[in-house]
Amino acid sequence: MNQIVDSLQYIKPEISAAIFLVVIVIVDLVMGKNKKYLSPIMIIGLLVTGFFIIDQFKFSSFAFMSENNKYGLLSIDSFGSFFKLLIVFSSIIIVFFTISSDEIKKAKERLGEYYTLIWGMILGMFFMIIAADLIVIYLAIELLSLSSYVLAGITKDTLRNSEASLKYVIYGGVSSGIMLFGISILYGITGTTNIYEINGLLQSQQIQGLIVTLSAILIFAGIGFKISVAPFHFWTPDVYEGAPITITAYLSVASKAAGFALLFRFTKITFIDSINADGSWNIISLIDWRSFLIIISILTMTLGNFAALWQNNMKRLLAYSSIAHAGYLLLGLIAFSNEGMMAVMIYFVIYAIMNLGAFFVVMLIANKIGSEELDDYKGLGKTAPVLTVSLGIFMISLIGLPPTAGFIGKLYLFLALINSNMILIAFIALLNTVVSVYYYVRVLKYLFIDSSEKEIAPFGVTIPNLILLLILVIPTLILGVYFTPLVEFAKYSITLLGF
């Protein structure tokens, strides 16, 4: 009993998120048709949650331990706090997106539910990031999934919206079913659901490698669905295209960040044997986890990049680009070293900024011209110079060219890979980057070189949107040349509880 009360201090951010979820519901109920207080409450709630995360940044402890057990349900460490901060940051940006989104304005009567479900997603992601027990992992993934299924179809009147939602719920249900089956097998052969205890058992006892591999692959199906790696990526383009842009941006950044945090924690804690002095990990030799991940990663980036080549819808193109980026990010895990983990953390901050920026510009353009098709983007370079130049910067950053931030992200990833002697993989990833230049530059060609048949009146950006845009553009440029603080921050928060 004492343990439970003591543990509450470690989950202050989660408690704050849960309280604000209820606050949003109550305010929405009391205020009725008046929706103007909801967004400010969201921002306040996110700032309070962010404050609690910073407050406990350096905590390193288990929460909710049982009496005869030295491990707990949740593990609180700076690695988790880093990803939680990233999620709070992207949530704040998403609230501002929502305020200026025309798509959400049409469904204004459902704004209360929309924000409630966003809190549901945040809560799910927080627990995913700190979960140290298979039960918590499963419940957190489901909390995140169930909220995002509904959010993908929140405007429900358009056909593509409900289609996205239906496809998401079917793919999501199947992958969570597969994951649950994997969890049940892993529980059966180890007799425990705590990943630290499973690690101890895998190290000491003679357990059949084949069945561990089977259950690990089945569990990977559930996590892989969240981070949209091949062959679990089929939902990504459909859902990203059909969902409202605010939700698409949120899924592509926050939900993926949580998925990667979970994947890192699960892989490192469950399958690690020991850590060498130089920070590389020795993985338990029962299963060939590395070859499996290499195949998945190469498949993901190749598929993402090549499928993106012939896309004509901007949201769909960014969806395939985000699949390709999931492939690059897996490279950081394949390195199996603390350096790779740090590279992924750096890359994720940069990826969040540039991807949110790209979606923001797409949304602002869609607000004006009512379309996300590339054919309608022709000649926009002349009519909307501010927006298109920023989109250009984000595209160059997504390719990974200097002097933008994307270059630094890719540089650290490839360095981590080369330092663990996987030059061939790094070379394949580099070739993939070259392929990706084509479709990113194609967008720029439509914007700046082609001219439109239709006459579009020049349009600018409103001042609040311009400020938000600058908040995203300036880091994209500055982090490309002055990245030391980010690297130091990632280095500072690399501690993963236990190893």
């Binding site: 499963y138 529980y187 295209e241």
Partner: protein, 101 residues
């Protein structure tokens, strides 16, 4: 006479495969959902069988959570199916195809 654990595991593996095949081959969205429920329940059966075999209550505890989540998922799935049906007047997932490639 006690039933050996292999029987339970075989039954649950069979249920899981029936669920997967149902998802892949059935065309009606509601039946696809039923197949997903079957997959979840096969995992539940494995968990309960192991829990009783190992004399460890964690597995049965897990099953309660899974049943709750499955109920929530079914509710959300049916709500989304209704939203879809209002727009399209069909539940055949082959005809729900405006988003592709």
């Amino acid at each position: 006479m006690e039933i050996p654990i292999e029987y339970y595991l075989l039954l649950s593996a069979f249920m899981f495969i029936v669920g997967v095949v149902g998802v892949l081959t059935r065309r009606n969205a509601i039946i696809v959902f039923m197949s997903i429920e079957l997959m979840l329940n096969s995992a539940n059966l494995t968990m309960v069988a192991y829990s009783s075999f190992l004399g460890n209550s964690v597995g049965q505890l897990f099953v309660f959570f899974v049943m709750t989540v499955a109920a929530a998922e079914a509710a959300i799935g049916l709500a989304i199916i209704i939203a879809m049906f209002r727009n399209k007047k069909t539940l055949n997932i082959d005809e729900i195809n405006i988003l592709k490639w």
